[in-house]
């Protein structure tokens, strides 16, 4: 693998995109965007959802072929017009999407070298193929047997396999779209280190991420997009202690076009008496008999209270929430949910909804929405009784109610008959929230409600949560972002290995305390 090191000593940028304009029917997605990426640098592309980041990267990688946009794309100073993805890959540009493009049943080698297998007379030489794959895996720091199927790897490791695959194509510019959104902290760190390593090896990266912290940690330059235009490009330098020269608020200001005084709306919590109590909730793994995933969880939530649930990946937070929500995951062993001291029947999801419990799932695309249906139908899906009489739907009432909810959630759309697939991530999440608000919940469980969502939309979602709580609803907020829990919650529970390991009032909570509780393994409560 020596080609990647032979970077031409061109003084100019590796990539120069200038004055890119791209229109979709009814929407101008890009309105004169310019972007320059220097060879061997990490370049962050920031912007709210819908600012045009993904569209720009699709123009670059040939998904939107030349001719469907205006403006110029130059590589090493030479104008290029990619007719498709293959042409862009040949020029050394590879994109790694949020949804990984690996074939789970095939081995690591087969995935990494798909289309580049080492062959002799057209027959695959497996020894050489594995050896070559191993070499690429070492470059991305993944010490795994290349004969393992990809499905046996964690999401983080799969991401590394994707990068190895890109390296096999002699990539010079790697585009990563939200690479850490599904990774835990350790995996994220490893990935970010890898980006720095790749920089040393002469591979430039364009990093799209909503996590400001990680962006500031690794990027050399930051380009900010807003409403389809380039706002500015900032150069990030680090002092001897690694502190970046550009502060996060500066970037946020550029992205939203205004000052965000606070990232979390102020809350005047007037917490009432305890309304919901969970007692001794215990859940087993759905297929592995006897494997406990939630072990005697106890918690309570007061009226109008926002309660956080902190935990590392695998702590059992989602499993707990989903089992609580009508046993929709795992095998229920024992435990009770009480509202105002009375036990609630929770046989299935319909029971849970009827009891006033709502669960906004972590994976909104596959669990929260029917993507090919419109906003209206998605909004009313969980509470059809509200728009029907004796099983017959009133279409006018449905439209009116969906519009009202859409406005309340501030969904940006062409109307309630827009298909949700075509909405941005933040707006999709608002539709999911609206769908659950429409059930008039008394206990709202939010599972990673702001994952993969831009700063502006995050703030709006926080506002909605606050307003809900102010109206007296109980909120259980599950999040992997500790600042979010600290900023939003009146109280935070920490979970580790299926057990609640502690409870901290919001005022006393800090990241260190929570982290200590979240990693308290093997002890009894």
């Amino acid at each position: 693998m020596s080609t990647a090191h032979t970077i031409p000593d061109a003084p100019g940028p590796l990539l120069r995109m200038s004055d890119i304009r791209k229109e979709f029917p009814g929407v101008r997605a890009l309105d004169g965007v310019s972007l320059e990426v220097s060879p061997g640098s990490v370049h962050a592309l920031m912007g709210e959802n819908g600012a045009g980041k993904s569209t720009l990267m699709k123009v670059l990688s040939g998904v939107h072929p030349a001719g469907s946009y205006t403006g110029s794309v130059e590589i090493d100073g030479e104008p290029r017009a990619f007719s498709d993805v293959v042409a862009a890959e040949r020029a050394g540009i590879a994109i790694i999407h949020q949804e990984l493009a690996l074939i789970p049943q095939l081995s690591i080698s087969e995935n990494v070298l798909l289309g580049h297998e080492v062959t002799r007379f057209g027959v695959i030489d497996w020894g050489a193929t594995h050896a070559r794959a191993r070499e690429l895996l070492l470059r991305v720091g993944l010490d795994e047997n290349p004969a393992l199927p990809v499905s046996a790897l964690s999401i983080g490791a799969q991401q590394l396999v994707e990068i190895a695959k890109a390296l096999a194509k002699r990539v010079r510019l790697l585009v990563l779209d939200e690479p850490t959104s599904a990774l835990n902290e350790a995996e994220s760190d490893r990935l970010l280190e890898l980006l720095s390593d790749l920089r040393e090896q002469g591979v430039a990266c364009v990093l799209i991420s909503h996590k400001l912290g990680e962006v500031m940690r690794v990027s050399d330059e930051v380009t900010i997009l807003r409403d389809g235009r380039t706002v500015e490009t900032l150069t990030v330098e680090r002092d001897t202690e690694g502190r970046p020269s550009v502060d996060e608020d500066r970037v946020i200001r550029g992205m939203v076009g205004r000052d965000l005084d606070q990232r979390y709306p102020p809350g005047e919590a007037t917490v009432g008496p305890v309304r919901f109590e969970v007692r001794d909730w215990t859940v087993d793994h759905p297929t592995q008999a006897g494997r406990r995933i939630v072990d005697g969880a106890d918690l309570d939530i007061g009226a109008g209270e926002v309660v956080g649930l902190a935990g590392l990946m695998g702590a059992g937070r989602t499993e707990f929430a989903m089992n609580l929500f009508g046993r929709s995951y795992g095998r229920y062993v024992r435990g009770s949910l009480l509202r105002d001291g009375e036990e609630l029947r929770m046989g299935d999801v319909a029971d849970a909804i009827a009891a006033g419990v709502a669960y906004v799932p972590e994976d909104r695309k596959s669990l929260g929405l029917v993507l090919d249906d419109d906003i209206r139908h998605n909004t009313t899906m969980s509470a059809l009784g509200r728009i029907s009489r004796r099983g017959v739907i009133d279409p006018g009432l449905e439209t009116v109610e969906a519009q009202r909810m859409s406005e309340r959630m501030r969904v940006r759309s062409r109307g309630v008959d827009q298909t949700v697939r075509t909405l941005s991530g933040g707006n999709q999440q608002k539709v999911v929230l609206g769908k659950w608000m429409f059930t008039r919940p008394e206990l709202l469980i939010l599972d990673e409600p702001t994952r993969g969502i831009d700063v502006g939309a995050k703030y709006e979602i926080y506002l909605i949560v606050r307003r809900l709580a102010a109206e007296g609803a109980c909120v259980l907020l599950i999040s992997s972002e500790l600042p979010e829990l600290l900023g939003m919650c009146d109280r935070v529970y920490a979970m580790c290995e299926g057990r609640i390991t502690g409870e901290v009032p919001g005022a006393d909570a800090d990241q260190e305390t929570l982290m200590r509780l979240m990693t308290r393994t093997g002890e009894t409560k």
Binding site: A101, G115, G385, G396, R412
Partner: protein
């Protein structure tokens, strides 16, 4: 909030999801006109229109059930064999056991429901793919048909069963059939009333409505189409009984799928089973009942087919499943589930029916008929996919392409 400023984009948005259905309706009209010309006016004679309804009645019945199955994201390959088996059992009950038709018809429908429940159980609760379960069903019930019939046909059948498939509304006299005309008039009036009422209701809620001229044109077209159809049918023997049955089924199922929570659940399960389950929809139950429904409709088609043939034969219903599946896909279903409509299935079945009938009239052999029908199915679905990609953007399709396309080898 981006509010649309003009109504034109709104109208386009409203039409967007239905391009396939409107496209196929237009294609159906074009095919009718084409064969009307090619056959020198034979296609739309009163006798032939009546024949068209009767010949295609069982495929239409099956297509409605199949549409529901496909919307749920499944498939049913067994319907042809179930048609044969229920038909055979009905014939045995009538001729060998001597049961009266009023008992045999519900018994056959119940048998269909049990068959549907059997298949629905494996699909919904055990999780065996519908393709496998119904492939097995196709073999099982064909075998069962052969076994109960002992490889021979049962014929003739009592008049009381035959009348279901070949009878007409009473009231025959000289000149056009009056009850048929009156029925058509009443139907047209009801549809126009519904159109204007729903418009008025939308207005009362301050929702955007089509201009008066558009709704009025729609009403005129509906009345003209219904009256033209009833007049043609009235010229012959009047509306066949099976036509009455079909109209009831189409109206009933279209209503259930469009306007009831039950129908909405079926769409939700097909659109995303996991999202539906987390929304409180009992997805397994929904799937189960969709297959029970398919079983009942298969039995109904079996009764109509057996009555029309005046015999129960071991080979009855062969390839019916493919006609029904083709009708659903031509009519706008998506193999991924969650998309499709009852009216679409009817249009799809009529496209196939008119093609069959028209090609027979101009003397094209079965060889050419099959070939042309196959191409029509392919083109209809290809047109739909092309259309979706054009309006919906390419985003969802690309990741799949990315992994499949192989970049060129390095030297």
């Amino acid at each position: 909030m981006n509010r649309p400023t003009s109504s034109l984009p709104r109208l386009r948005e409203m039409l967007r999801g239905r391009t396939r259905q409107y496209g196929m309706a237009i294609a159906l009209v074009a095919i009718i006109i084409l064969f009307q010309i090619l056959t020198g006016g034979l296609l739309l004679t009163p006798l032939n229109v009546t024949n068209l309804i009767m010949q295609n009645s069982y495929i239409l019945i099956l297509a409605i059930g199949m549409m529901l199955v496909i919307i749920t994201g499944h498939i049913d390959l067994s319907v042809g064999s179930v048609v044969a088996f229920t038909g055979a059992m009905a014939a045995i009950m009538l001729n060998s056991w001597g049961l009266p038709t009023v008992v045999v018809v519900p018994a056959a429908l119940l048998l269909g429901a049990l068959i549907g429940a059997w298949q629905g159980f494996w699909i919904a609760y055990v999780g065996v793919p519908a393709f496998i379960v119904t492939l097995a069903g196709m073999l099982v019930f064909r075998g069962a048909t052969l076994a109960v019939l002992g490889g021979e046909s049962i014929a003739p059948l009592p008049q009381s069963l035959r009348v279901i498939a070949s009878g007409f509304l009473p009231g025959r006299s000289d000149g056009p059939h009056l009850p048929t005309l009156l029925l058509g008039l009443a139907g047209a009036a009801v549809i126009v009333w519904i159109q204007w009422r729903s418009r008025a209701r939308s207005r009362a809620r301050e929702l955007p409505v089509a201009p008066v001229a558009v709704t009025a044109t729609g009403s005129v077209l509906v009345v003209a189409a219904i009256m033209a159809f009833t007049y043609v049918v009235a010229e012959h023997n009047g509306l066949p009984l099976v036509g009455v049955l079909l109209i009831a089924l189409i109206v009933g199922y279209a209503f259930v799928m469009r306007s009831t929570t039950m129908g909405r659940r079926v769409y939700a399960v097909g659109g995303s089973e996991r999202a539906a389950a987390l929304s409180g929809i009992r997805t397994k139950q929904t799937t189960f009942w969709v297959f029970v429904n398919m079983g009942v409709l298969s039995a109904l088609a079996g009764l109509v087919f057996t009555g029309r043939l005046n015999a129960a034969t071991p080979g009855a219903g062969t390839m019916f499943e493919l006609d029904a599946i083709a009708a659903a896909f031509i009519g706008g279903a998506s193999a991924a589930g969650g998309v499709g409509s009852v009216v679409g299935a009817v249009i799809g079945a009529l496209v196939m029916g008119v093609l069959n009938n028209g090609m027979s009239l101009i003397g094209l052999g079965v060889d050419w008929q099959q070939l042309i029908k196959g191409l029509v199915l392919l083109l209809a679905v290809a047109f739909d996919i092309y259309n979706k990609r054009r309006v919906g953007g390419s985003a969802p399709i690309m990741p799949a392409l990315r992994s499949r396309r192989r970049p060129p080898r390095d030297p």
